[in-house]
Amino acid sequence: MKLFSSYNRILAIITLTGLIVIGFLFYQTLGQYINKQIDDHLYEELLEVRDFTHVKNILPSPDGFDDVIVDYKKINKLSDKRKYFADTTFYNPKKKHDESARYLKTALILNRQPYEVMIMASKFERQEQIKSIILIILLPVIILLLILWLVNRILIKRMWLPFRQLLINIKAFNINQEKVFEPVQTNIEEFRELNNAVLEVSLKVKSDYKEIKLFTENASHEMMTPLAVINSKLDTMLQSNALGKEESEILADLYKATSKLTKLNQSLLLLVKIDNDQLQDKEEIDLKALIEEKISYFQELIQKRELQVETKISAFSVFANRSLIEILINNLFSNAIRHNNDGGSMMVTIKNDSLIFSNTGSRNGLHPQKIFERFYKDNASDGTGLGLAILKQVCLKQNYELSYNYNQEYHQFIINFKSSENKSQLTML
């Protein structure tokens, strides 16, 4: 629920309950006041009846009153002299419908005879009055509340505007891009504070990230010289005439490990380089020609694994950095060859602005997000675990959409080159 609707809901409940309670109490008070007025009037009429009888020695005619109905009833004994006031309804013969009324019932001696006298007055007009009064008072209050609610709504919407902008800017913030977090201009203290806090955090994150990148870069560089020493010592040992079978096998393992370490280091450095946008010079690259060139470049590896390579490539070119695109294609080929079965097949397709590499391989689909994580690899893999991470990084930097799926025993890697306009998809990756 939005803050505003939550706030509004509470406000609406309080206002409505308040309005109902106050209206009820108001109505009750007014009703009692009116009753008291009628009761006074009825009592006056009773006094009038008594005075009239006293003076004229006859009972006044029940028709002689304008606004009240008087009724006498002879009783045997005067037992209860108390006056009873109560509500009732009566049939108004003039208006021909029932009306609520108020009556006064009492016993008293008239003309030396005990009588039960009932005087009744209609409450209709008074009730109408109450209705009008309540309407006159309540209607403006309700209208006022409505106006307040509307003003509130508009005001709050406008006041939250910088907050919304802030949210958009936070979401747009990308650690990988040069663009820093964009602060929002606002006069509201709270938002300004939030703004500053987010700005600070984003700057800190950026500098930390930069530091980590720098550390990775330096660490990898520092490792290159010792690696060079190891390599050169291995090469020197290899020249020894005293090399037996056992020593040679050890050397072969050492070479393998050193190569892997070197490759790992180079991959980390490459990732940093891509991150830092160090590969900038762009040119028009004929993808079709490049792929054909790469197929012949990888030919020996393809032949060794007895892979069937099929291509469905239409003429297509991209405007990008050549090194990056070569890394991209190299990694796709390496991946499709390395993770294939002997005698398997692979397919390279270009259609609808997309480059698709499909290859046979393990029988199970892979995790579509995890495979692009750094150092994620299945147990059988002998690679560095960075190939696909590099692929992802290149795509991220070039705003290409990269996706993986497993379809009818084919692992598919799809790169959509034209997704550059669609930034939202990029952040999902």
Binding site: A228, V229, D235, T236, A252, S259, T262, E300, K304
Partner: protein, 225 residues
């Protein structure tokens, strides 16, 4: 040939020194900027192996100095920094090649020989190894005067072995030489066996002696002894 190794890492310097000191080559070395500066002022070398990060100065300054005093020594930069800018700067300052650490000594020697070849014979150099004749310009191979058709990679491989003759070349070194660093294939050493088998077959089919000798699965040696 006479080389100068300017490298502050002693063990690396020694290994290079040991590897290059064959067939009458002479290696001189310097471990600091100052030493390097003095040596290249006084002597002439066929090729200078220059490390860019020295304890007391920048290797690129030595390169600038060398050009300033108009020396025609070949220069091979060896650096741990794989930065494109530095590479471009080094080459534009007159270095002949740029080799990134870590490297294999066989690769280093091949590059050095290539530099010397380019400088001394204007790149038009024909290698002879007994009955084999390799034309590095036309990229042609002949056995007993008859051309042998080799693919581009096979040619590169043969040339690599011939310039490193009598040395054991590890499979790892051969893979890097043929494939470069781009492909994530550093661990697939075994396919180099197929490659060498192909080259061997083509050569022996043309009546060439088999000079490739396998060294217990770790590498190969090209030799006629």
């Amino acid at each position: 040939m006479k080389f100068l190794i300017v490298e502050d890492e002693e063990s690396l310097r020694n290994s290079i020194n040991q590897y290059l000191t064959v067939e009458g080559n002479i290696c001189d070395h310097a471990s600091t900027y100052e030493q390097g500066y003095q040596k290249l002022s006084i002597y002439d070398y066929d090729c200078i192996l220059l490390d860019l990060t020295l304890p007391d100065g920048e290797g690129l300054q030595l390169l600038k100095y060398l050009k300033k005093i108009n020396k025609a020594d070949g220069v091979l930069i060896i650096s741990a920094r794989n930065s494109l800018d530095q590479k471009i700067e080094g080459l534009s300052l007159g270095a002949d090649d740029y080799l990134i650490k870590p490297f294999h000594l066989s690769e280093l020697y091949a590059r050095v020989q290539s530099i010397v070849r380019r400088r001394h014979f204007n790149g038009n150099s024909i290698f002879h190894f007994n009955e084999i004749e390799i034309d590095t310009t036309a990229k042609e191979t002949k056995v007993n005067g008859k051309p042998v058709y080799l693919t581009r990679k096979e040619f590169e491989l043969l040339l690599y072995f011939v310039v490193n003759k009598n040395k054991v070349i590890s499979k790892a070194a051969a893979v890097v030489h043929i494939w470069g660093d781009d492909a994530d294939m550093a661990d697939s050493f075994d396919f180099i066996y197929t490659h060498i088998k192909n080259v061997r077959k083509k050569l022996t089919d043309s009546g060439c002696k088999d000079y490739f000798h396998s060294v217990y699965g770790v590498g190969y040696k090209f030799t006629d002894s």
